[in-house]
Symmetry: C2
């Protein structure tokens, strides 16, 4: 794959020196407990940000796709882990300190916040099929509202994002397939056949 660096550099904003970093599938971007001083913008690929319980239970708080910014923290320490899901390019935005910077970051942080708050409704109050419906709707909207969507992540990741086991995720996919709402072409390509039905399920 040829990567056109210039294209990325043109997108770079005035936030500071913004080196482009490459990550292999599964590679750690940062870990809980590490010091932080940067934000990260996905240029291509996908990232999962998660937290662990002592016994290994994992909750993915968000996926980040191309164009999205992550790495916001309340203090100088990372409270989460971040890993590349696939081969991923990331622009590291070194945090400078200044008022005009905060005014650029606040809207990005607020978008992450609103999404997190909306996801709480899913985790707290929706059943398995509804969760998958929300997830597919979200992924479609984030990929431009297309009916054909590509899932960059595994069923395990989807489960850990939606608070379900991999088996329950699989069964929910099966139900949506059997009711003709979606079609699968391979494991990671989903066609949304009945958009309105899926949308309604997501409430």
């Amino acid at each position: 794959m040829t990567i056109h660096l210039t294209a990325f550099h043109q997108q770079a904003d005035r936030m500071a020196p913004a080196p482009l970093a490459f990550f292999a599938p599964g590679e750690e971007i940062y870990a809980q407990g590490e010091r932080c001083g940067s934000l990260y913008r996905v240029e291509f690929g996908a990232v999962r940000v998660y937290r662990l319980l002592a016994d290994g239970r994992r909750q993915i708080s968000a996926f980040y796709l191309a164009g999205e910014t992550f790495g916001f923290e309340a203090d100088d320490t990372h409270h989460f882990f971040a890993e590349a899901i696939n081969a991923t390019g990331i622009q590291v935005l070194r945090k400078a300190h200044g008022a005009n910077l905060a005014s650029e970051l606040l809207p990005l942080a607020l978008q992450v916040l609103v999404r997190a708050q909306e996801h709480m409704l899913v985790l707290g109050r929706q059943n398995a099929v509804e969760r998958i419906a929300v997830f597919l709707t979200e992924m479609s909207e984030r990929q431009g509202g297309l009916r054909l969507i590509e899932l960059p992540m595994s069923r395990t990741d989807i489960g850990d994002y939606l608070g379900l086991t991999i088996e329950t995720v699989s069964r929910a996919f099966t139900k949506l397939k059997q009711s003709g709402v979606i079609k699968l072409q391979g494991l990671r390509n989903v066609e949304i056949v009945k958009w309105q039905v899926l949308s309604d399920m997501a409430s």
Copy 2:
């Protein structure tokens, strides 16, 4: 109850005209869909911020206690409802636009964000007793780490915050009581008897 207005006014920061508003128990502070242009700081009392599904299922995304700021939104529209839980005093911080303002708001927004992300782990991956343990630990920490805590909210609110039914909340409280981890003095006063055990449960 006598309210010392001067004390509150001394706490006012330089954000702008900050009138103190009073809300009765259950009174709406703002509604989903309303335009927003203010932030809110709780002076006394408690607030719940929540979202609803079409069929009435409710998820409380956060409680806000004295000293805490809420009302952050990504655009100019409220995506959530906010209500006073009890008699509550709130400072309305009218949003001005400017860089120095954003630099003051960002840390507050980030604190809300981190808390939201941590709550996702609870909603997605912890069982009923663990959720109550987390909740009590949180409430204690937010009230200064005391062993005697006062819950300003009902069991229904707790359930809607933790993604549980009121009955499951009640049963979890009963289990914690029976195992000697907590004691109840009335419904809303909890004594944490075995701090470490509770803490460990919360993981």
